[in-house]
């Protein structure tokens, strides 16, 4: 039996925070949000991974399974602080490929 390849989705994120935030802080907060809302089972189904992070622009690209997109999006929306300080992460765009995402976000 041929196993189906699970499609992925790339999300462009913008971190808004008054303090300096590195990629570890961002991913920790996203993972914690997913765990809090959906538990370990939900987190295991997301296959979440950081692809790129620009420290100066506070811009990140993460990847997840397409079946977990809404859960990941809800988790990201629920973040209200990073490292104990107020912060927000906005989803700038979602796409099936990195190339299309860059094109979407840049325009």
């Amino acid at each position: 039996m041929v196993s189906k390849r699970v499609r992925k989705r790339y999300l462009a994120l913008k971190v808004v925070s008054e303090q300096f935030v590195n990629e570890r802080d961002v991913m920790d907060s996203v993972w914690n949000a997913v765990l809090k809302l959906f538990g370990e089972y939900g987190a295991s189904q997301a296959n979440l991974r950081l692809m790129e992070y620009d420290r100066q622009m506070k811009f990140a690209v993460v990847r997840c399974f397409h079946t977990a997109l809404e859960r990941v999006r809800a988790s990201i929306a629920s973040i209200t602080e990073i490292g104990g300080k107020p912060a927000v992460i906005y989803v700038l765009g979602v796409s099936g490929t990195l190339r299309a995402l860059r094109k979407k976000v840049l325009t």
Binding site: A74, A77, Y90
Partner: protein
């Protein structure tokens, strides 16, 4: 293209800089119409200042007021005094009597229930049946979902799941709004739609609750509050000189 609406920005209207930041953030996130909460004694100057801010950011302003009456009689008095002064009227129902009166009164646009005191959430089958006949909408604020944690949050989610199912069964429109007190609590419409999956609201229903439902409510009220309006289907189209 959908026109996204946020009918509940709790901006501190005395701090116009903060209001401008919140309105600008809403515009960046894709909202085209925002409702700013005003006090009952809001002056024309304050409203025109807010209008000016919204015009600069190319956003349509909706004037909104929240009533928190203690008795049905108080609600009726407030409606009689203030209905024609504001475009959107929301009633925070803190007792069953008030909830029933608000649901059956056609002058009430939004039914709002406290997020933290779940004993005061009276949206049940009887309430929904009254609301469906009077065209009131159930308002769900998203800010408490962002601020509450643990036990409080999942109890609220459980209650919202039940209320959304009741609203769907009785065809009561649901309106999602931010309830944001600062720009950090405002999220994009698709992010709010994703959050509604936490209480089993479908994506199409969530997007409707962020666009068509509140927009239709505002449109309906603007027509009713327009100078030429007399009754449904009847408008003044012209006047004779001296009459």
């Amino acid at each position: 293209m959908r026109k996204f609406v946020d009918l509940h920005l709790r901006a501190p209207i005395k701090d116009l800089y903060k209001v401008e930041r919140m309105v600008r953030k809403s515009s960046e996130l894709g909202y085209r119409l925002v409702g700013i909460l005003l006090p009952l004694n809001a002056s024309r100057d304050q409203i025109s200042q807010l209008q000016h801010i919204c015009n600069d950011t190319k956003i349509d302003l909706v004037t909104r007021v929240d009533f928190s009456p203690k008795t049905p009689r108080e609600l009726l008095n407030d409606l009689r005094r203030f209905r024609r002064k504001f475009e959107v009227i929301s009633v925070t129902c803190t007792s069953k009597g008030v909830a029933r009166q608000a649901a059956k009164d056609r002058r009430v646009d939004l039914l709002h229930f406290p997020a933290t005191d779940l004993r005061k959430r009276f949206f049940d089958d009887a309430e929904a049946e009254l609301a469906s006949k009077a065209l009131s909408s159930l308002e769900i604020e998203m800010a408490p979902l962002l601020l509450l944690t643990g036990f409080s949050r999942f109890r609220l989610l459980s209650r919202l799941r039940r209320e959304v199912a009741i609203a769907e069964r009785f065809k009561v429109p649901v309106t999602l709004s931010s309830g944001a007190t600062n720009e950090y609590l405002i999220r994009g419409p698709h992010d709010y739609a994703a959050l509604t999956t936490l209480f089993d609201m479908s994506m199409p229903s969530a997007l409707r609750a962020l666009s068509e439902n509140p927009a239709a409510l505002v449109e309906r009220n603007r027509v009713k509050l327009s100078p030429g309006y007399v009754a449904p289907g009847i408008r003044v189209v012209g006047r004779k000189n001296g009459v």
